[in-house]
């Protein structure tokens, strides 16, 4: 399978050995994986590349998982983010859900379950994109009747702006 057809995954964890092993395993499962060992690197990767799903460790030195989640969601609202944690607490799970995490998985997790969750997250992203495109089409239809060509372009630019 060419990389273009693969789910593009951003894997973020400060435990480098864990990051390397899981990235290789996920790549063997057919994902196109980019690894980042800290929050800053993850945010920079997301700026330079396009991702469908991110898997982010909750507890990291420096910028922690919640901060990474918040920043990624602010900048790439259609990116689905799965949080991984060593010790899940109700508070951390609630915090991540509020910040827009797709799911919260506790380590050690079942690998097949992680793969399934990534696929579900990807489907959720596709659904959101489909809804966005639908909205875009509706907007074009509405504006094509009432607006000037310039007004139409501006409205589409506003809509596309949201889909970073």
């Amino acid at each position: 399978m060419s990389n273009e057809n693969k789910i593009k995954l951003l894997m973020v964890d400060d435990e480098v050995k864990f990051l390397e092993s899981i990235s290789k395993r996920l790549a063997l499962k057919g994902f196109d994986v980019i690894a980042a060992s800290n929050g800053e690197e993850a945010i920079a990767s997301a700026e330079n590349d396009f991702f469908d799903v991110a898997v982010v460790d909750f507890q990291m030195p420096g910028m922690d998982g919640a901060q990474v989640l918040k920043t990624l969601k602010e900048r790439h609202q259609y990116l689905e983010i799965i949080m991984l944690t060593g010790h899940a607490t109700v508070d951390s799970a609630v915090e991540c859900t509020k910040l827009g995490a797709f799911k919260f998985l506790e380590k050690p997790y079942d690998f097949e379950n992680l793969v399934k969750t990534i696929q579900e997250a990807y489907e959720a992203r596709l659904k959101k994109k489909f809804e966005h495109n639908q909205k875009r089409m509706d907007e074009i239809q509405k504006l094509s009747i009432s607006s000037s060509p310039l007004g139409l372009l501006r409205a589409l630019a506003r809509l596309d702006d949201k889909e970073k």
Binding site: E15, F18, S21, R25, M60, H87, K107, P108
Partner: protein, 220 residues
């Protein structure tokens, strides 16, 4: 003097719990690495059994990771055991170097831990008679403050000196001004007082000395 550490004292219990929680987090990380490396090994062997060509280097890396992480796990459990036994006696002859070394390792599990340079004392004299658990608590609290003051990319220095009156001086230097909070806190003062230790902070807040008396009697 009591013959046991008073775990009705919430500060003692809180410290014991906090350290054990961070150890369990570390062990979980180790198991997660072993689990992923073993899983990858399994995936690769399955691929090989289907006739797919696998790089030998990948297999070597996986097994090497497993061996190293098991070793890291043993070291962590050894540290956990040492820490757990520190509550056995409220007063005993303690090697201060070992206490600092253990606390550096255990505090190193914290996500905000910074780098540390620990200089061993030139004179070699490092034994005091004190409550090991409370001394650990005091060193740990100071390390946490020091980490927060320099941030994860910072580096602090620790040295131990023998004073003329026989007490040991644990010197923390290179402290920063990040996330500045009052030090010592009331809790830290209480711990220091319980073993007769004195905390001195430099005027510029970039160094802390902890003076541990050679003999802490009736301290617990």
């Amino acid at each position: 003097m009591n013959t046991t550490i008073d775990f009705e004292n919430n500060d003692d219990l809180a410290f014991f719990g906090k350290v054990n929680a961070s150890i369990s987090h570390e062990l979980k990380n180790i198991l997660a690495i072993i689990s992923e490396a073993a899983g990858l090994l399994q995936d690769l062997t399955e691929m090989m059994s289907r006739g797919q060509k696998i790089e030998l280097e990948m297999l070597k890396t996986c097994s090497q990771d497993i061996v190293e992480e098991i070793q890291r796990g043993f070291t962590t459990i050894k540290q956990m055991n040492k820490f757990s036994h520190s509550v056995d006696a409220p007063l005993k002859s303690v090697n201060i170097i070992e206490v600092i070394d253990l606390m550096i390792n255990l505090a190193g599990f914290l996500s905000f831990a910074s780098k540390i340079r620990f200089d061993l004392p030139q004179d070699g004299a490092s034994t005091v008679s004190t409550c090991p658990f409370r001394l650990q608590n005091l060193v740990y609290h100071t390390l946490v403050f020091a980490f927060k003051s320099v941030g994860v990319d910072g580096k602090i220095e620790i040295a131990v000196h023998r004073e003329t009156n026989g007490s040991a001086r644990i010197a923390f230097s290179g402290l920063g001004i990040l996330g500045k909070q009052p030090f010592p806190s009331e809790e830290t003062k209480k711990i220091a007082k319980s073993i007769g230790a004195e905390i001195r902070m430099a005027e510029n807040s970039q160094a802390i000395d902890i003076l541990v008396p050679q003999y802490s009697k009736n301290s617990v």
